[in-house]
Amino acid sequence: MAARTHDQWTAKPPLQQGEWIDSRCYSDQEIFEEENEKIFKNTWIPVCHESELSKPYDFRTTSIAREPIIICRGPDNQVRAFLNVCPHRGMMIERRPSGSFLEGQPSGNPKRMTCMFHGWQFDMKGGCVYVSREKEGYQDRLCKDDVGLRRLRCEVKFGGFVWVNLNDKAADLESWAGKPFECLRKTLDAEPLEVFHYHKAIVDTNYKLWHDTNAEFYHDFMHYHNRVTGFNDAYFARKNEAFDNGHVVVGTFEVNYDKYEGFESRAALSFPHLPPNQWYMIDLFPGINFNLRGSALRCDVVTPLGPNKTMIEFRGLGLKSDSKEDRMTRINHHNSIWGPFGRNLHEDLIGVQGQGNTMQPGAEPRRVLHGRQENQTIHDENGMRHYYDEWGRWLNRLPSSPDKPYSAPAAVTTAAE
């Protein structure tokens, strides 16, 4: 068929409902606000790794859906999360990305979280322990017990990641993500892990487009590295397996890393309980990716900043017990593909930014195809179909026509198929 007229271009594709979505899902400001409110404020997000706050009184700050969060390790070694908001007048309590409360601050004492504005202080359990001129200002009308921090649900799980959920009533983390983690649970929990890599990208694209890229492997045609190291019968037999809650696991196969000039096999540093050079991927709704390639684990976490702006935080992890030499080898393995100057990540980011450019707010709505059917193997797009079915349920919107309420599509791959 030749190039199409506008009517042909915007017509429904000859596919079933569920095999395409409307690009407004990626560009609409109202949908973006709804996603923050209905999805991100109600799902478990791995905000950091426990090795980032390895000692008592260490802290990390982050945010979910514009809500500032502080995570700290108490003297009892427990990791807890709180809103990083002073209950007095709403000042952000800790402004740095990380540090230790063992040190005193200009406005406060050691071992306390101190709001610099008026000197209110909190312990590592979030209890208020000091209100400056408390009696003089509040007499007996308000006391420290009334002004503790807002605690957040927090679990350290699945390889030591620190998960936070803003909703006190959401299902527990095991119910939410336990099943997709089964394929790597023994590996990730065999011994403590440690983060060795962190960088972030802020790109002009929708967060779901990044998650789509992590959930579909048809785009391996973009990656010379993956074509030469991967394209074989075992690669094309890899299965995408759908799980409840919109999660997807991409099954493993053996990668031939040494087929790329200058690269080496990763067999010697495979993670515990895994055969050599394996490649597992766990894609969690709404935008979290765990990617284990033989010797290094990568975790991507998205923070949507707007319908067409997304921050992606990239972490690389190895075993805490690594020797210096092994750690350096793992770092090189990680970076050669996934580092900011590696072979694949740059290509992935160019790809999603190109999509973001064609789907800016106000751009003509168009069909984005998710219709490849290949028996749920690696180039099947069942992972994306499964995701958008879940997304439609959470927002009560039909992904192929987001002005309409959700209805179950015919062509979606459901969990445990």
């Binding site: 890599h197 802020i202 010379y224 970076n335 100057f341 160019i350």
Partner: protein
């Protein structure tokens, strides 16, 4: 003083060759034992990170395979200022510290129609170089580009 002058000239020549994407000419300024790295300290994870580590052989592979990869076409422009050159006591080597600011002159950008022709700050950091100066013509033994950035957006396929 002559050594300091030739070391500075060599660092500036390397900057020009990198800007011009004359990768092999840049590598010809490097000893066979050359070690290259891009590093950054992350307060987020409290870790001295290595973003890229490569030998001269690795770098040859990397640049030879560039045509096989999809890369942002926007050229990079490095502004290098050599802060200090310190010859070793035996006069065989010298170390140098330079400030480097890397701009990206947009060709692709997000939308080339809008962005092409604009220059954006891409990265800042310092080069920590070690050079062999024995023969009067300095050659790089080691280069560490220590970045201040951890926000790297699309990143790059190119040596910096």
């Amino acid at each position: 003083m002559a050594t300091c002058e030739t070391v500075r000239d060599t660092i500036y020549t390397a900057t020009r060759l990198l800007d011009d994407q004359k990768w092999n000419d840049w590598l010809s300024l490097c000893d066979e034992s050359f070690q290259y790295s891009i590093t950054s300290w992350s307060p987020e994870i409290n870790y001295d990170m290595t973003y890229l580590a490569a030998s001269k052989k690795d770098l040859h592979h990397l640049v030879d395979l560039l045509p096989k990869h999809n890369t942002d076409h926007s050229p990079l422009h490095r502004h290098t200022t050599v802060y200090s050159v310190t010859p070793s006591d035996d006069g065989k080597t010298a170390t140098a510290v330079s400030s480097v600011i890397i701009f990206q002159n947009m060709l692709d950008g997000t939308n080339s129609h809008i962005d092409a022709g604009e220059s954006r700050l891409f990265l800042i950091g310092r080069y920590f170089d070690t050079l062999n100066v024995e023969n009067g013509k300095p050659v790089f033994l080691k280069r560490e580009l220590k970045l201040d950035n951890r926000r790297l957006d699309k990143g790059s396929h190119w040596p910096l």
